[in-house]
Amino acid sequence: MPSNNKAYEIADAVADRLSFVELVERLARLRRYLRQEEELGERPHRDVIRVFLGGVEGLLRSLDPYADLLASRQPLDAYERMSFARRVTTLFSLFVELHAQLSHLRGTWARPESQLFIENVRHLLAAGRLPEGIPVVLHNEYSFEQDDLASGLKSLFLGNGVSLQLPLERPTVFLPKAEHENPLYWANLAHECGHIDRTGIEQLISDPTLFPAQATELERATLKRWAEELYCDLFALKVLGPAYLVAFLAFTLLESDLFAGEYGSSTHPPDIVRICMMQRVLENRGLHIPLQGELADFRDIARLYYFACESRSRTLRRQYQKQGESGFLSACVPPQHYAEMSGPILTQCVDNIIDRIDQAVQNEHELKSEDFARIERLAGRLADGILIGSYPDEIAVAKCLAEIWTNSEPPEAGSANYQGDVKPSKEAFERLKGVIQEVRTTPWEIINAGWLHKIQVIHSEAFGVFFAGDGSLLKKIDQFDDRLRASDDVLLKSIEVAQIHKAFERRKQ
């Protein structure tokens, strides 16, 4: 059984490399989006796009010394790690700034597969919890959001004496443009769908016993807003399992900055609270996707990213000085840890939310540990470039063939009906026909298998490319992006194929 100690020992090195690769991926995806735009536009448009491409490539090039540094066998010391952690924050912030400028470009519409993904999230819940056809809109901000476009517009216009004939509500989810063909990050949209489930949210936050009695009015008001966010996290977790937590952690890994994910805001609880809550729920339910090989010490995909985030937080936190101490790099917790919230009250509230979540979010199918049995095999198929929209039930096929072999009479050699070693009965033949039909996979399986494939195969290759040997960094990034694009294509097609299977299943019914 791998120990935490071993994971801690290697966490810093893995965290630095993971931050590097995740940052490169964001930039490579933005570059890919821009190149796609470039192909579509007229010449003046292409000239504008080239300015953006210059910005992305400048950011990519400025990572060059860090690639060399991380390739070294000599581990980074505390100051070097601090410099790298700060550099990641700075470059990610510049990426966010650049992304916000995409409003100057024409812009393409969201991919239809993202719409399918949201529809599938809806189908995983009890009927009527989410409205049909929630639109996915590509967004200039690098953030995942949800908004009700109809009521927002109506209230804006009505305030100026203009009444509109619009539908009562038009809840919409927003996806950053750079992630428009990255289904693994779409997991974050499941959280946004949670905000649309007003029934579940109201059921949870209207319960007076949710908030500890000793909470002050101010704490109660803050907890109410935070409870909605925590609800949405558990909503997404119940629909997608570990894939949501990993997508959240991957985002946090880059986004955590000065406050290292340990500060709450008036609307959102600190990231660390959300992460620990989700980890606890996954552990309680035995939902995990184990890692193999060099990463086995982290046990599963979510814990790998958790260790990476924790390592980065530890580094960034060291910039604070303890009261009365002049020493630099003395790790300590920043003041106002949870922004006007007492720790025990928050803990109790989170416990209460976990206790009530199954009542509030009602899934059509509750994820169980046995549901994850085939994720590893699906990831294996992805590594071979095979679509995973459906999956052969090899065990059932083997069982059926064994039965046929055991129960069938061998045909007479040389007879006109001789077709093989055995002649199955009509019933056995029909049964075999049934089991060799591939089973449809669900989007949560596709996304979880996609994450496992990315971590075990794509990252492993990327570490080899970026942190070993010489060569131009931009060429290495091209190679990495080719690999990502191939994986995206297989995942997107798999989502589509699973949907086709689903449509045929409905027709049969």
Partner: protein, 148 residues
Amino acid sequence: MSTAVEMTTDTDLASLADMVVADLALMRRKQRKPDHGLDRGIELCTRLAQPIPVATLAASPAAGPDASRRQLRADADPATKWQPPSSEEVHRLRKDFEDIYEENVEIRDEDLTRIQEFVVRVTTLSWQERTRDFQQRRLKRALKQQSL
């Protein structure tokens, strides 16, 4: 060398410092020649001694027009107890860089660590300000988005 100057023209103090630390780290690992990054190191010393830009001064009426960048930073957040480098310290840092990049001078690990520590420490507040600035801009955009 001219490339390094171009790269640092528009970077802030902390970003520059982070690149300097990376340069020194590569040198320690013998992955870079000692002359690489000299411009960046010297540029950092110059920037550490620079007066504060007028636009930033205007945000703090308490600071007079002659207030140094370092003094204003120290006033801005006394809780951090940030001590700006003195002119002697900046001078010494410049000398360190010149020594490092001088040919035939042996570079000792402890010297590199000392310089890296100094560079990271003196630019921490600059980095914190930069991060807050990014956060504020992000928040502003989010609020604008919500109002639509």
